[in-house]
């Protein structure tokens, strides 16, 4: 197992390199630069700026300098747009925020989704089942850019219960309740649907049928025998869900002024803020790799049939 983990982490290095070079090159090939303005800058002024940020160097040299900075100093360089900030400081400020509300959303999505799905499966074909299916399918298809403004109108404008934006950390839930609802709902719904169908499948398997025929208590059957195997598809869904949530955080940051890095990613791509975009790509790519590894380990732990 340990060897497997190290091997996987070893594979991560070429992946990251490919990712960095690919993004770096595609970014620089895109038309316009960080200092392209509606009212064009005088040539010498632009030249001075390019010299300051090393953008006058050939692309291969920029790429190498960039990699050197990351590997040797762990320095992702300055932001070309937020000139008061370095990429490291933008990530240091934004990432903990994204991580906080993202983790809460993940936990909520899994906890509620699994419970809802399991209950629906156990009460198969009851009104509860239909309700759960209906709710989860609707929730799954409601885009978060529709949900976010609706939440703010209800909870901020009408009820005055929650602040409409900002972020004050884990201990101030008032600020993260709406972001978490907007971010987690569709994943919660997907998990519920997935859980329901896999649970149904498990409940129909012979050993569970036997257990039920023997008159074992339902609660015991579910907890002891059905839950773990039924969770497997949900666990393999966590990887894609993680990537999806990162995408969703863009909308969250835009609507709730949470200050996370999702918005910075899209902005940096649109503003040609090369260094910020690269920094966040590297961070998210690395995270995705680590997360997928964790998911695989979890999977192996739950499913005894898999051995590495």
């Amino acid at each position: 197992m340990i060897r497997y983990i190290f091997r996987r982490l070893g594979h991560a290095i070429p992946v990251m390199l490919i990712l960095i070079v690919f993004s770096f090159v595609i970014m620089h090939l895109a038309p316009g630069g960080p200092f392209t303005r509606e009212r064009a800058l005088p040539p010498q002024v632009l030249a001075n700026i390019n010299a300051k940020y090393g953008l006058d160097q050939p692309l291969w040299k920029q790429t190498l300098d960039y990699l050197w900075g990351i590997v040797v100093h762990f320095d992702f360089g300055p932001s070309f747009v937020y000139t008061d900030q370095s990429v490291n400081s933008i990530i240091a400020q934004g990432f903990p925020i994204t991580l906080t509300y993202g983790t809460i959303s993940g936990v909520v999505a899994i906890a509620v989704g699994v419970t809802l799905g399991a209950v629906a499966a156990i009460r198969h074909n009851s009104w509860l089942d239909s309700l759960a299916v209906g709710v989860s399918v609707t929730a799954q298809v409601l885009p978060n850019f529709v949900m976010a403004p609706i939440l703010v109108v209800i909870f901020t404008l009408w009820l005055h219960w929650l602040p409409g934006g900002g972020f004050e950390g884990l201990l101030s839930p008032a600020y993260w309740i709406m972001p978490v609802i907007a971010l987690s709902t569709s994943y919660m719904a997907s998990i519920a649907r997935m859980m329901r169908s896999s649970m149904l499948e498990v409940m129909n398997q012979n050993h569970i049928r036997t257990a039920r025929a023997k008159g074992l208590a339902m609660r015991r059957i579910v907890m002891k025998h059905a839950l773990k195997p039924a969770l497997l598809p949900v666990i393999s869904y966590l990887g894609p869900a993680f990537v999806g949530m990162i995408t969703g955080s863009v909308v969250i940051d835009m609507y709730f002024s949470t200050g996370g890095i999702g918005k910075f990613f899209v902005d940096s791509a649109l503003n040609r803020d090369y260094a910020v975009m690269m920094g966040i790509t590297v961070l998210l790519g690395g995270l995705t790799i680590v997360f997928n590894l964790l998911v695989d380990i979890l999977y192996a732990w739950i499913d005894p049939k898999i051995r590495y």
Partner: protein
């Protein structure tokens, strides 16, 4: 003209209006207990460095943190800042500013002429690499160009401190009085605290490091969320400042900002495109509207890379005439924007709007004329004119492009709409890789030169590829003209004649302000505001 020293003196004296820039509580107003203000920012602050700042949001915050030679009152009139007055030499080349001795930085050090000298040198220094470095070449400050080009050291810039409280600026050629004075209200010309910058380098603008000479000082900056300022007790006129703290909230989505304003979380709010009349009806006491020195236009590509058809002035005129500007302003934007038939916004200081013939015609007349012009140019049903309209991704630009497509369809022009992301669009525009594009320019300085010099061939900044020796001459003459409006008028008529652009509308800025806020400027055409002029009254 030879600038008249007496006139210069008179102008200088007119600034001595005691406390014109402080919040003076109007009779009958009772101050509220709560004097904290929450403002809105579309995008986060990019830099708080006065010399580097280039965006509206940055300047809004910097104007609270720093103070320049002059400031603007709520109505846009100039009022003293760090300077109390100035003189101009008889040849118009030497400007001497007198600084008030009581001005201090927020660490207690006095604000001196050296701080301005340092700041101005820093602005043009290639090391600083400020994108606004050319602000000083626009002002014709001696050696500014050479310093930017790296040919002379920054110390050779034509600015020096005669003593701690006297600043002298030397120019290469005279410029209009108003242009200089308006320029020194811009944040790029604000003083800079040398000691702090040299200690912290690029990090000097971080909370805890930043030292300013404005009415407020920086408390906190949470990127992507908010920036918090509190009153600076060492500000020279702190006695007259009322608002205790200012928070700029970053909200990227205008509708969201409006919802939060309605929920009471913000004191000001933007009005999303097209919603002005509705909000005006619902909240008549909170909606404001003021002219803004910006022009929205469609530019035609006249360069070699442009389509052949657009090189024919009849085609350009026809296209311009066919645009029903009042539908765009009254039915799409609905925020009191003014249909534009010329380039410079009429609201700009001292500018007399030109009288353009087709502005008086009815739309039916314009369309008839447009059809005629296109026919003369050889286009008709059997040989339709085909064009592509490019615009950058935005709801408002999209609406206008869709409408213009329909207007042009009516005169038999087939158009394709091409929506591009901002950077791609701007890049294509400057490389002349487009046919017809949307364009908008806001004046950075409240003076018509700032708008009109845009079409000078020497600056090569305008994306149309329009070049005219006559026009260039006009732009040069205007710097020393007795009545610049004569030259402005000629320039505007040249533009209307050659039609390298189709002007569409002049901006208004509109928005909402809570009814208990006083002193929010609702006339300033550059949208400058100073929180120290504001206060909150009891509801």
């Amino acid at each position: 003209m030879k600038p008249n020293p007496l006139l210069a003196l008179a102008v200088a004296l007119s600034f001595i209006v005691p406390n014109a820039s402080a919040a003076t509580v109007a009779p009958g107003d009772t101050l509220a207990e709560n004097q904290d203000i929450d403002l809105w920012l579309l995008d986060d602050i990019k830099t708080l460095d006065p010399q580097k700042s280039a965006s509206v949001g940055d300047s809004d915050a910097i104007r609270q943190l720093f103070e320049g030679l002059y400031s603007q009152a709520a109505n846009g009139d100039l009022v003293p800042g760090v300077a109390t007055g100035h003189e101009v030499s008889a040849d118009g080349l030497i400007w001497t500013f007198h600084l008030r001795p009581e001005a201090t930085w927020s660490n207690g050090d006095p604000v001196t002429a050296q701080d301005f000298v340092y700041a101005w040198r820093r602005l043009v220094d290639p090391e600083t690499a400020s994108e606004k470095a050319s602000a000083l070449t626009d002002l014709k400050v001696k050696n500014a160009k050479a310093v930017i080009d790296g040919k002379l050291p920054p110390a050779e810039l034509g600015v020096r401190a005669i003593d701690a409280h006297t600043l002298e600026v030397t120019l290469d050629q005279p410029i209009p009085h108003g242009y200089m004075i308006a320029s020194v209200t811009n944040t790029n010309t604000f003083p800079a605290p040398r000691a702090v910058i040299e200690t912290y380098g690029d990090a000097w603008t971080q909370p805890g490091h930043l030292i300013g000479n404005g009415a407020y000082s920086l408390v906190e900056h949470r990127i992507g969320q908010k920036i918090v300022l509190k009153r600076n007790p060492r500000y020279r006129d702190d006695a007259h400042t009322i608002v205790k703290s200012v928070t700029f909230h970053v909200i990227n989505e205008e509708n969201q900002a409006l919802t939060r304003f309605r929920a009471g979380e913000l004191d000001v709010s933007p009005i999303p495109s097209g919603q002005y009349p509705r909000l005006k009806e619902k909240y008549p006491d909170q909606v404001y509207k003021k002219p803004r020195a910006c022009t929205y236009a469609y530019v035609f590509n006249l360069s070699l890379k442009g389509p052949e058809a657009l090189k024919d002035v009849r085609v350009r005129k026809g296209l311009s005439l066919a645009i029903d500007r009042s539908i765009i302003t009254d039915n799409i934007l609905k925020g009191g924007q003014i249909p534009a038939y010329s380039w410079t916004p009429p609201s700009m200081a001292g500018f007399k709007a030109p009288d353009i013939d087709y502005s008086h015609w009815s739309q039916a007349e314009r369309v008839a004329k447009a059809e005629n012009l296109l026919k003369q140019a050889g286009y008709g049903p059997d040989h339709p004119l085909k064009l592509t309209i490019s615009y950058n991704t935005s709801e408002a630009h999209k609406k206008i492009a869709v409408a213009i497509q329909q207007f042009w369809k009516a005169i038999g022009v087939e158009t394709r709409l091409e929506n591009m992301e901002w950077k791609v669009f701007t890049d294509r525009l400057h490389k002349h890789e487009y046919e017809v594009g949307r364009y908008a320019i806001c004046a950075g300085v409240d003076n018509a030169i700032d708008m009109l010099s845009f079409f000078k061939s020497t600056d090569s900044l305008n994306p149309t590829g329009f070049a005219s020796a006559d026009y260039d001459r006009l732009m040069n003459d205007v710097l020393t003209a007795t009545d610049p409006n004569i030259d402005y008028d000629q320039a505007e008529h040249t533009l209307a004649d050659k039609m390298p652009i189709a002007p569409i509308y002049f901006y208004t800025s509109n928005g909402m302000v809570k009814p208990d806020i006083r002193g929010f400027p609702v006339q300033n055409v550059l949208n400058f505001f100073y929180v120290r002029n504001m206060y909150r009254v009891v509801k």
